[in-house]
Symmetry: C2
Subunit: 348 residues, 2 copies
């Protein structure tokens, strides 16, 4: 069973992933860049190589765990957190811990062996977004979970695996993560003073100045954030205020699929298919219980953060929490605006 441990000073939780434990001599390989690609267990016809599916889209109603699907969700083979068991918080002297209860699922985004989600059709991407929403809604029913993180690690330096088949990870956690709380608290502080959502104000300011604007479509904008941590960092924000990713109707999902595809294609074409992380930032579950976060409906605004991994994070960042970004976001936005995303890479 994985174990969650809390740093007693900082309050930061760490998952001691005992099921992924390796011997000391097995760490060498993970420090090397891009080891050999492994045979893909995620393509159509390989269903027996994954744990049984939790969810799938099967237009012809084929049986579960057989071919004929367009998208599948399966539990992770070596999960960070395990679905079984009750939450159990304990202490050991000054240390706090809890058992690693949670969910860790993998969304297999297509039955073809395609690596980058931007090479799927807008309809396929909209289906993936619909799947995120269905899975988040389902996990919310489990009273043990407080948050669901939906994210992608694309490419080896971004933490991607040795199989190059487009997929997303979904992790439900039994505590609200520190980083999520910080964002909620920050948004709340701004709202307390201004009585406006900080993200709505940010969208207005970015649309007015256009310095950091990369793309604007009907329902969404893509910007290089003012305090970008990484070169070519991109945030995608819905123009209409909403704290919750799951409250998107089919028209919004289609719009989001469109801008997501365009942004990721611009990164792929302009920066030679870079590794990136993709993270959905949305409001936590059960927020009515969160005390001073009860205005979260008004003060928080869901969005997506995409961070290409072109630079290394070093001692200064770890020691201070400051980031050093060698690319002014205004220049990054100017560059990405000019990239013709259809130019080099075709649309599947």
């Amino acid at each position: 069973m994985p174990e969650l441990r809390k740093d007693p000073v900082i309050g930061r939780w760490v998952i001691i992933a005992t099921e992924r434990a390796r011997r000391p001599d097995q760490f060498a390989i993970s420090s090397a860049q891009g080891p050999e690609e492994k045979p893909c267990p995620f393509c159509e016809g390989k269903e027996s190589q994954t744990p049984p599916e939790i969810y799938s889209i099967r237009p012809n109603n084929t049986a579960a765990n057989t071919p004929g699907w367009e998208l599948r969700v399966v539990p992770n083979q070596t999960p960070f957190l395990r679905i079984e068991g009750e939450l159990d918080r304990t202490g050991k002297g000054l240390y706090d811990m809890m058992n690693g209860v949670g969910a860790h699922e993998i969304v297999i985004e297509a039955n073809q062996h395609i690596a980058n989600i931007c090479d799927l059709s807008p309809e396929q991407i909209a289906r993936v977004i619909g799947c995120y929403i269905d899975r988040i809604n389902d996990l919310e029913r489990d009273q043990r979970f407080k948050y669901v993180l939906v994210f992608k690690n694309y490419g080896w330096t971004a933490g991607g695996g040795r199989v190059k088949h487009a997929r997303t990870q979904i992790i439900a956690t039994p505590v609200n993560p520190k980083r999520v709380k910080e964002e909620l608290v920050g948004a709340r502080h701004y709202y307390d003073y201004h009585e406006r959502c900080i993200f709505c104000d940010l969208i207005k300011q970015e649309l007015a100045s256009k310095d950091r604007l990369i793309l604007e479509i009907d329902g969404f904008i893509a910007i290089a954030p003012f305090a970008s941590r990484f070169p070519f960092e991109v945030w995608i924000l819905p123009k209409k205020h909403s704290c919750d990713f799951v409250r998107q109707d089919p028209a919004q999902r289609a719009e989001l699929a469109k801008i997501l595809k365009q942004v990721l294609q611009k990164l792929k074409v302009g920066l030679n298919d870079p590794p990136y992380n993709f993270i959905i930032h949305t409001a936590p579950f059960r927020r009515q219980k969160l005390g001073y976060w009860k205005t979260i409906e008004e003060d928080y605004h869901w969005h997506i953060e995409i961070t290409p991994r072109l630079t290394r994070v070093a001692g200064f960042e770890w020691g201070t929490g400051f980031y050093i970004c060698p690319m002014p976001p205004e220049n990054a936005a100017g560059f990405l605006r000019e990239v013709d995303e259809a130019k080099t890479y075709g649309t599947k």
Copy 2:
């Protein structure tokens, strides 16, 4: 001039390092692992290849910027922060920024071309520690600075450069970094309740259980921390309570040099010379002005954190602030206790 920008939601500062700005096509190289080594500008006889020295140890009183030194400190050629100018905070709509005033120095730890500080003699390491103390004391006199971070990036994946000559970076910042504040606040909360230093309690608990103890000498212990973020993470703590790294007498400096050499040799021998970050955690300057931090003398405890970089940090960590560590710290400590640090690598 580099610019400091604040994320309006999280409050996280970012340095937009304009002087290190690169064109988009120049980012490819930095994503590759371990490019070619560059000719070394830090060896004895190459003094003209660095900016003029700020500090040096010259036993025979040779002239500055000539051979005959044992240790030199020079400004960084492309600093993250610049020493010139006054602090100037401004806003732009909802965004906050300030100009990038600070100091960025490089400690060249030896005149020989040696990469890892653990291959220096204990006397040389004690001299390096004395130099850190002298430089921190000197930078404290500059009223613009609030904190000094002393750190090492060893090896390419830890952010180290293309020159393999042992050195330390010293950065003075005009704001107290978020990560430093979190540690101070956490230590203060514990003290408020228990009226004891959390680090002193932690040392007692680790000495009693011995599960995570790697080394113990007269004045210091080395442990694998309970909530290790990274496999083989090591913290070195002075047994005697002190909030401030600079208050070490020559005997303590010699003790610290001894345990530091042993710990880093254990990592080198046991893990095949891994990349690592090394960060000194000490109390900020001008703490009497810090309001509720005025008990920092009693509640904070300086220490060193060493994090080998054997795993990749990915979307889950960025999205949550949770870390996933695939090596239980008890196993890491057991392994490092057994490593005979003198076995493979000789002592210079």
